[in-house]
Every structure is written in C-alpha cells, then in structure tokens.
C-alpha cells in the first residue's frame, strides 16, 4: 500500500471536456444500440448518454447548448443550486430552446459531487437526452480513492416516450408481464392452501389492485454508461486500489438494486452530498438519485456490477476488471417482487375489515395509515433496524422491503447521515402536506388529488424552513424531486439529517423532508418517474421575496410561455 493516493487525481484520467469554465453541447438525433435493439433517440454531442461534464466548485460555468432537433428542447442541471432562470424547465424557468437556437447557460458552481443533466422537454430524457456532471470540490474530500468511474444507469426501452405514455393511458398494464397467473394461483394454493389463496386473490380483486404492480414499464434493457448487459461496460483497476463509483440513476421509471458480488461498498455520497461513510453489500437507487461508493477489489479478478430492477423485470450489468475482456459470473435475477396489503396502507376508502390475511403472511401493519416517522424523532433508525432486516422507510411487511442478496447489509435512508451539515438545525416555520395520489386504472397521477394542469402553484416565502409531509396513498414508489433547493430528509438524526435532491416515498409510508427556502424564483417539484410527472404528479413552487426577486420578475416578464 505504498501507492500515492490523491483524492480527485483520477479526474484527469477520465475523458473530460476540459477544466475551463466554458462548455458546448449540441442536442442531436442519435442511434442508441443496447445490444438487444437499435433505436433512434436523442443525445448530446452526438451520443447518448452525453459527455461527463466536469466542473470545479467555485467556478462560473458557461454552457452553450445548440438545439439540432426539429423540436423544442431544454437542459435541466439536476441537483445543482443555481439561479432559477438557469434551471432549464420550459414554462417555469425559461421558455425553452427553439430548434436551431443556441442557448447559453451561465451560473456559479456552489457545490461539489456527482449530479446529472437531462432534457426537461417532453419525453426527450427517456429517449436518451441525459449525461453526468462531476464537480470537483474546492477542499479535500473526506475520503480517498485512486480511481473513479461514473456509472450511469438507464432503462432504455424500444418504444419512444410518447408511445409508452399513450400505451399506459390506453392499458395501464400494457407493459406489465409479471402479473399473477393461473399457475401462480396453483403454486400459492399448494403453499398457503386453496381457500386462503382464493381469499387473497378476492381481496386484491375487490380493490382492483395488482400485487404485481411494481414496475409500470417493463421490457427495457438496463444500460450502464450506454452499454447493455451484453456490451458489458468495463472499468479497469489494479488490485488493492480504492475505486470511487459514481452511480447515477437516469432511468425514466426504474429503481435498481445494485451489488458487486465479492465486494463491500462504502457509501460516501448521496445525491452529491457527503454522508458519513456506511459500508453495505447492496443498495437501492431511486430514479434520479446518485450514490457515490468506494470499493476496494484486492484480487486480480473481474467483479460484476449487477443492477437488478426493483421489480426484477430487467437488469443492467457492468464489470470491474484488472484488464479489458475479463468477466465475472452474472447472477440470476431474483424472483419478482409482489406488493402486500402493507403497501396499500396509504389508500383511502379501502375496507380491510373483512379480509383474512392471517395465513397469507401479508405482513399487514397494525396501523393501516402507514408509518409515521415523526413519532420516531430522535431515535436512531439504523440501530433500530438492526436484528431484523426491515427498513423503516418501507411499510412494515412491504413486498418491496429490500433484502441483500448475500444476506448482508442493505442500505436504508436511515443510514444516511450528513458528513458535514450544510444548514443549522432549526424548527420548521410550517408544514405542508403533500399526498401522493393517483389512479392506476386511469394511469393518472397527482398531488393532493389534483393534477398539475389544474393545480395552483405552491407558494413559499424566502427565508422560511418548510417541513414537507409526503403521504403516499398509491401503491407505487415516487421519487420526489424539488428543484433549486435542498431536501433535508428526516431520518431522525436531527442536525445530521442528510440533504438530497430526490426523496423516494415508498407505498403506504409517510416521509418528511425540510427545505430551507433560500433561493428566490420559481421551481419545478415533481415525481421523477417520467410518465407519472407527465400524467400530472407535478407542481410549480414559487418562492416569494428574497434578494433578487424584483430583478428576477423583470427578467422573466419578458419571456412568456414556452413549449415543453
């Protein structure tokens, strides 16, 4: 172990656009080859995914974006703290970028870590318009590594985003090929008995809900850095080195459970922010989240990075190896997840009284209203979770409860503690309840029962600290993303609560986050599942007051409208 280790040194080994403050991006029609199929899509600088943009904390970046498409486009810098006019959401921050137009973004970089960028127009992001952002910190990082790689995941589908949206609206189960069959009825019957299985099916049939409703959009090929499982993206290492892997989930719809058989992963960043290191065997990455982990392969052999989708309908795969061409075993996917009655805990108007779940082991929680984390304030969830493998951020008995493939440690939100808190702890000035609502049969998604098209903006006041209460009343997981300001996720760790840009809310649970309202302007706030956001689970947030508000109003008054 005499290798000199310099944090961030490896930045130089990655192909970068250069360290200067000016960058050029073109938005292009590209061909995307997943190994399973070839599909026209949208990319940056001629490729999907686009380039890794490497910024430096403290610099002001200028990014010239040229739209070579025949439709409007936009780029949103996901997770970056910047003036709202630079945030890249058509109709909220700016009008969008016209075909043939070059739009120049300019903003100061006030943070470090792993982020990403993507189009916020139509379904361009699921069609391929995304890339990674790596920001080198001003100060030394609280961890060391010899090498780093961006590991950017997506769920590339052979259908275009428009077509997927239309199919889902026409038949919400269009892409679901994990539904319960006659065969499963018989196998469940032999396990649990015929009557109990029948009762179970009747209970779900009565609700008109599917246990198999974990992944709406199946049939994708999981890509890592643009490569399908067969194309096998490979990162090279020398045994004994510490490697920083910057995982980014740029999927339209898919959560991935990530593991590297044979290696422990030490999570050091979540959503670009340093967390107290926690060593895990596996972690689940929500759509739009990022996790940075450090691994240390000691042996002269290949290791598989295996990313199974949460619903086990597909996977992405890559390899870490001492030399190109080496491969390790690719594990089988585990059995498809099934929702339980616990995941339905947040639903209104369900009559659970006459259902007998006793023998079906459906893990019905005592309190059907779901878990309320506020009552556990001050307790250490990670300590609590010890001994049983249950994660307090899932409904007790949830069918989505993550379990490590090797029986070891699976990362929970409860394990995430800020390494160096950005904000002082203070009482929130008020609480805003956001019920995550929807109707699977109509494939309509909303907040507090109101779709974006019918909704008034959420108005916040500059300087307040708002406590958001997410109550998930649907049976799907929603990664909620507030633009422009940090989401301080309440894991019960007080001042050590981590700050994130995307907060996953599991079915049947209530999750709290607080936001220091410290950026004026107007911002998007939405579920990051592409087809949920497009179906209405979206809000505009207006921050009233603040230092630049008058100027901001004037700037934006000139620009009306836009085109998503």
């Amino acid at each position: 172990m005499k290798t000199p280790m310099v944090a961030g040194l490896l930045g130089l080994l990655m192909p970068a656009l250069g360290m200067a403050g000016e960058y050029n991006l073109t938005v292009d029609r590209v061909m995307i080859d997943t190994g399973d199929f070839v599909k026209e899509g949208i990319g940056y600088n001629g490729a999907s995914p686009g380039p890794v943009l490497r910024f430096k904390e403290g610099e002001t970046v200028t990014i010239n974006v040229t739209n070579n498409l025949d439709e409007m486009t936009s780029i949103h810098w996901h997770g970056l703290i910047l003036p709202f006019q630079q945030d890249g959401v058509p109709g909220i921050s700016f009008p969008g970028i016209q075909p043939g137009e070059t739009f120049t973004y300019e903003f100061p970089v006030q943070q470090a870590g792993t982020y990403w960028f993507h189009s916020h127009s139509g379904f361009q992001e699921p069609d391929g318009a995304y890339g990674a952002i790596v920001i080198e910190p001003e100060k030394r990082e609280p961890f060391r590594y010899n090498r780093e790689y961006v590991v950017q995941l997506t769920d590339k589908h052979p259908h275009s985003g428009d077509r997927i949206m239309r199919n889902l609206k026409m038949m919400p189960d269009y892409y679901n090929r994990q539904q319960q069959t006659v065969g499963e009825f018989f196998s469940d019957s032999s396990e649990h008995g015929f009557m109990d299985t029948l009762k179970d099916r009747m209970a779900w049939g009565d609700m008109r809900m599917m246990k198999a409703d974990v992944e709406d959009v199946q049939g994708f090929t999981g890509l890592i850095n643009g490569k399908g499982p067969e194309q096998n993206w490979t990162g090279i290492f020398e045994p004994g080195e510490r490697i920083r892997l910057r995982f980014i989930n740029s999927s339209a719809m898919t959560y991935f459970d990530i593991r590297i058989p044979g290696l422990e992963m030490t999570v050091v960043q979540a959503d670009g922010n340093n967390v107290q290191p926690v060593t895990v065997d596996e972690f689940r990455i929500g759509v739009a989240e990022t996790y940075d982990v450090i691994v240390r392969p000691r042996d002269e052999k290949a290791y598989t990075i295996f990313a199974e989708s949460m619903g086990r309908s597909g996977y992405a795969r890559a390899t870490l190896a001492p030399e190109e061409g080496m491969e390790a075993e690719v594990p089988e996917m585990r059995e498809a997840s099934r929702l339980t009655m616990a995941d339905m805990g947040g639903m209104h108007g369900m009559d659970h009284g006459d259902m007998d779940h006793g023998d079906m082991d459906m893990g019905e929680p005592d309190d059907m209203a779901g878990m309320d984390h506020s009552s556990m304030e001050g307790m250490d969830h990670s300590a609590m979770a010890m001994g049983d493998s249950s994660d307090p951020f899932y409904a007790a008995g949830s069918g989505l409860m993550p379990v490590a493939a090797n029986g070891g440690k699976f990362l929970s939100y409860a394990d995430l503690k800020a390494q160096d808190p950005l904000y002082e702890l203070r009482e929130p000035t008020r609480e805003i309840e956001l019920r995550l609502t929807g109707n699977m049969e109509r494939y309509s998604w909303s907040i507090n029962g109101v779709k974006y098209e019918d909704a008034d903006p959420i108005r916040l006041k500059y300087g307040e600290r708002v406590r958001f209460k997410f109550v998930n009343e649907t049976m799907m997981t929603h990664p909620m993303h507030l633009h422009g300001m940090w989401s301080i996720l309440d894991v019960g760790a007080g001042q050590w609560n981590p700050i994130k840009h995307t907060v996953s809310v599991q079915p049947g649970t209530t999750v709290y986050m607080e936001t220091e309202v410290d950026e004026p302007g107007q911002w998007a706030f939405h579920c990051h599942l592409s087809y949920h956001a497009a179906a209405g689970m979206f809000r505009k947030v207006i921050v009233e007051g603040g230092p630049d508000s008058t100027k901001a109003n004037q700037d934006i008054a000139a620009n009306a409208g836009g085109d998503a």
């Binding site: 609280p142 510490r242 290191p277 060593t279 450090i294």
Partner: protein, 181 residues
C-alpha cells in the same frame, strides 16, 4: 437494547484486548504492531490531527525499535479513532466498532461514556481502552506512546464503521538510519 448481544460484544472486546496488549501475537500473520512504549524512551513526538474522515499527516516514518509519542487531536465533527495495528488487526477491530455503533456507544459526534463503563457482568465492558488506540470525541486530545518493535506492515487507522473503508488510515513506513541523523 439487546442484552445478549451486548454480552457477545463485551466478550469479543475482551478477547481482542488480550490480543492487542500481548503485542507479540504476530506469529500467525507474520507481523506485529509493536507494544506500548515507555514515555521516557520516546525519541520524538508526532502530532496527529484527525479530521472528517482523514488524518494529517497520512504517513509517518519510524525506525524499527523506535518509541514514538503520539499526540492525537480530533479536529473533526465526528468521533474518530487512532489505532496502530496491522491491516488484519484493523479488520478484526472493525467488527467490534460496528457493534459499538449499533449499540449506541458511538453516535456520530458523541461517545456514550456511561455505556462504555457499564459493567456487563463477568467484568466485561465496552471500554475502549486498548493501549494501541484512542477513541476521541470532537475537540478531544490524547496521547499514545508506542514502541515499533520490528519492521512489519502497520497502519494507523480509524475503525469507526466506514471510516477506514473511506480512506481514514495512514501508513507507517519503516526506515533505517533515522536514529543516526
């Protein structure tokens, strides 16, 4: 708090304490980390500052047989350890430290001293009092005098869960002839 787990932990710690303090347990891995030194024999003082999550300096040079007085100060916001040992010893110690976190003995920036002192029965406790290491809250400073008896693969490391893996360790490089200068 799960009583039986605490007992297991306490037992594990007392076993490892024996191994550490013996200092000559190297036979099996062909390496020993040295032994507690006598302050009067210390050739010099090395100041080690602990930050979140790294040391300054990140390596030190010693001569076989040299006794060094370490003054360790925690300048970070989290609890950190300064522990002298072989990589194998650190690995074994990390399991114990993990249990200390799970039992709430180490809580981010705080140490639960009362719990560390608690008598678990049979004279076991979760005291972290091995001579080769110090466990410090933010702002604390302590000393270790250590004799590097023979050349071997030694690191100083923080075994608070995740910290070592994130890179909070430093190399002890053995040099010859340092004493002559």
């Amino acid at each position: 708090m799960n009583g039986s787990k605490v007992l297991v932990l306490a037992a594990a710690m007392s076993v490892s304490s024996t191994a550490f303090s013996a200092g000559t347990h190297g036979g099996s891995h062909g390496a020993s980390s040295g032994e507690p030194g006598n302050a009067s024999e210390a050739s010099r003082t090395v100041n080690v500052e602990m930050f979140d999550n790294y040391y300054e300096p990140e390596e030190i040079d010693v001569e076989p047989g040299e006794t060094v007085r370490f003054v360790v100060e925690n300048k970070g916001n989290l609890v950190h350890e300064f522990n002298i040992g072989t990589p194998g010893m650190h690995e074994a110690h990390q399991d114990e430290m993990k249990m200390m976190v799970e039992h709430g003995v180490i809580q981010g920036g705080k140490l639960n001293r009362a719990m560390m002192e608690m008598d678990m029965g049979d004279g076991h406790s979760m005291k972290h009092d091995d001579p080769n290491s110090v466990l410090l809250e933010p702002g604390e400073s302590k000393e270790i005098v250590w004799k590097f008896t023979e050349q071997s693969s030694i690191e100083f490391a923080c075994n608070v869960p995740g910290h070592y893996q994130a890179g909070m360790y430093g190399d002890v490089n053995f040099t010859r002839g340092l004493a002559e200068q």
